[in-house]
Amino acid sequence: MALTIASREIDGVTVLDLSGRITLGEGSVQLRDAIRDLIGKGQKRILLNLGEVNYIDSSGLGELVSAYTTSKNQGATLKLLRLTKKVHDLLQLTKLYTVFDIYDDEASAIASFK
């Protein structure tokens, strides 16, 4: 299943609801384009909802890191919401869990941007 991305706004935070796979050739480019588009429009608060991401590979992990660094370099903040067990385990394995600000609850995540 390829990646689908839906965007919504809550209290000045752009929430990207991701669903599917973030892998080489199946979502990495879509995610990169979505982040660049938001940054280009001047959005400074981005929340990636990964609750429906059922698979991610090393390329997808790299894309998450790139999204984080691109946002940071442009003065924006990117956080993660609702990791599936697989994504959670991979972020722990790769120690990327220490890089990202991660939330299980959307309201708490939105509030953290204030």
């Binding site: 080489l24 590979d57 890191v65 394995l93």
Partner: protein, 146 residues
């Protein structure tokens, strides 16, 4: 391929992303047949996918003249995956550790790390040209029986 059967299956594929998908799907089927639980199936499938991407992308560099050789084996004790590319080869011991603090924010370089983390044994063999990569997942005593 019959369920839970021991055996060996091998095939040769082009250096394309379609091949990666085929190998990944085969790994999922065979890991299920071998009796691996959900977490183990995920680990095997992901490691196989990463190894195949490595062979197609970094080994053969998508060269249509080069192919990958793939073999799956269920010995009853081990689930073994072997992939061979025809590329220039590399030294796996010289790869930077992507989990080191200075490398955490790098966008690439996690494939071999994941393979080593997810499988029980990983062996590299340089063929000059080409690299043979063997991944082993030990089966639980009740898994993999005929």
């Amino acid at each position: 391929m019959s369920a839970s059967s021991k055996g060996r299956w091998s095939f040769r594929l082009n250096s394309t992303m379609e091949s990666v998908g085929e190998v990944e799907a085969a790994a999922e089927r065979l890991a299920t047949d071998a009796g691996l639980d959900e977490d183990q199936r995920f680990h095997v499938t992901m490691a196989v996918r990463e190894a195949t991407i490595n062979a197609v992308l970094h080994g053969n560099e998508y060269d249509p003249a080069l192919q990958i050789d793939v073999a799956f084996e269920n010995t009853g004790k081990d689930f073994i995956f072997t992939i061979t590319d025809q590329g220039r080869g590399f030294d796996p011991d010289r790869l930077p550790d992507p989990s080191a603090p200075e490398n955490l924010l790098r966008g690439t370089g996690r494939g071999i790390f994941l393979i080593r983390s997810l499988m029980d044994e990983v062996h590299f063999r340089q063929l000059h040209p080409g690299t043979e990569l063997t991944l082993v997942k030990h089966l639980a005593p009740e898994a993999g029986r005929t």
